[in-house]
């Protein structure tokens, strides 16, 4: 009887802990990745819409729009938000990105791109991207359609751009 109760209590505690963990969201430590890893993520969006935001801790409009991306990732099961930091371009130490993510409680997955000369890789990510920050790439997993936007996003923009990347090309054109 007694071990059963312990088991039950442990079970309840586990469920409670798990649900608390789920509510808090899964937090990942920002990870330094090379170009090939990033390219393979972009190339395999699954059935979701991938929203890949290129940013840096030093980019004021990027930091300003980040809560909108966080909100999007939290609210939509059909969307996967990935934040790709360009910080290493200016500072070889990823510590700044890691402490930024902690301080701001960022839930979206953060990758820190380590790829050397931007002139060699910007076009490999998207040839329509100039390299300016912030920039956001939308990839619709179902159709493979892509859209790169190079400007600061405001409330409602993300949802509208997702609709646009998902919609019939005939309607858009």
């Amino acid at each position: 009887m007694f071990p059963g109760r312990v088991g039950l209590a442990a079970g309840i505690l586990t469920v409670a802990a798990l649900s608390m963990w789920r509510c808090a969201g899964t937090r990942h430590e920002p990870k330094v990745v090379g170009l090939e890893t990033l390219q393979s993520i972009i190339a395999s969006p699954g059935q979701e819409v991938l929203v890949i935001n290129f940013w840096a801790t030093w980019c004021a409009p990027c930091v300003k729009e980040m809560p909108l991306l966080e909100e999007l990732g939290k609210n939509r099961d059909d969307v996967r938000v990935i934040l790709v930091s360009m910080d290493l371009d200016l500072d070889p130490d990823p510590a700044k990105v890691i402490s930024f993510a902690e301080a701001k409680h960022i839930k979206s997955r953060i990758f820190i791109l380590d790829a050397g000369d931007p002139n060699e890789w910007i076009n490999k990510i998207d040839s329509s991207w100039s390299g300016a920050l912030p920039a956001t790439l939308f990839v619709d997993g179902r159709t493979g359609r892509r859209l790169l936007i190079e400007k600061e996003l405001h409330k409602g923009d993300l949802e509208e751009l997702i609709t646009r990347v998902q919609s019939d090309p005939e309607i858009v054109l």
């Binding site: 840096a56 980019c59 200016l90 070889p92 000369d117 002139n119 390299g131 300016a132 751009l161």
Partner: protein, 201 residues
């Protein structure tokens, strides 16, 4: 409903499409007249002895611009006497980026001891004509008679964080080739930079 969707998408298309693609390599450049940080108006035609120009869209506030500041001063030191002076233009509207106002430009140029023009484009007409996307963004121009043409568009070099570690100095290579009377080998490059902050049209 379908009409409404089409309308919404049309509005989106306008809202998110790039305003202007700007000059391409080989395009003829129209001269301009813009206010310098010393209060005087500056045109390309004022530079009687110039064989060309290193036009750099640059600002006071962007960390990438700051990282390149000494290199920009260095480009002017190296090439002004060879007929290719630096002409810096601030593309950011103070309505969007308060630190990029004309007064702040004056202060910044004084602090850094700029010996080249640092121009303010209040109407942003010249900015839209060139179409820089980020700061710092370079347009190397070459002049023959009264014709000024774009010879190179892009980054200063391939290493933002460390000038001494740069292995490809794109602007220097382009200007050296022009001075030697050769065609420019690398005419377009890209770099990570701060998006240009235009005022809403």
């Amino acid at each position: 409903m379908k009409k409404l969707i089409v309308l919404c998408l049309a509005v989106l298309l306008v809202a998110f499409s790039p305003a202007n693609k700007g000059y391409e390599v080989g395009d003829k450049v129209t001269d301009f007249k813009l206010k310098n940080v010393d209060g005087k108006m500056v045109s390309l035609a004022d530079y009687k002895d110039a064989k060309g120009f290193i036009v750099i869209f640059d600002c006071n506030t962007c960390p990438v611009s700051k990282a390149y500041n000494d290199r920009i001063i260095g480009l002017n030191e190296k090439y002004a006497s060879k007929g290719y002076p630096v002409v810096a233009i601030n593309p950011n509207s103070p309505e969007v980026s308060a630190g990029d106002s004309f007064d702040e430009m004056v202060r910044y140029a004084r602090k850094k001891g700029y010996e080249f023009a640092y121009l303010y484009d209040e109407s942003q007409e010249v900015i839209r004509r060139f179409g820089p996307t980020n700061t710092p963004h370079v347009f190397v121009l070459t002049r023959s008679g009264s014709d000024v043409k774009v010879a190179y568009i892009g980054a200063i070099d391939d290493n933002t964080r460390d000038a001494s570690a740069a292995t490809k100095r794109y602007v220097e290579a382009a200007v050296d080739e022009l001075i030697a009377g050769k065609p420019v080998t690398t005419t377009r490059t890209k770099a990570v930079g701060c998006g240009v902050k235009l005022k809403s049209a």
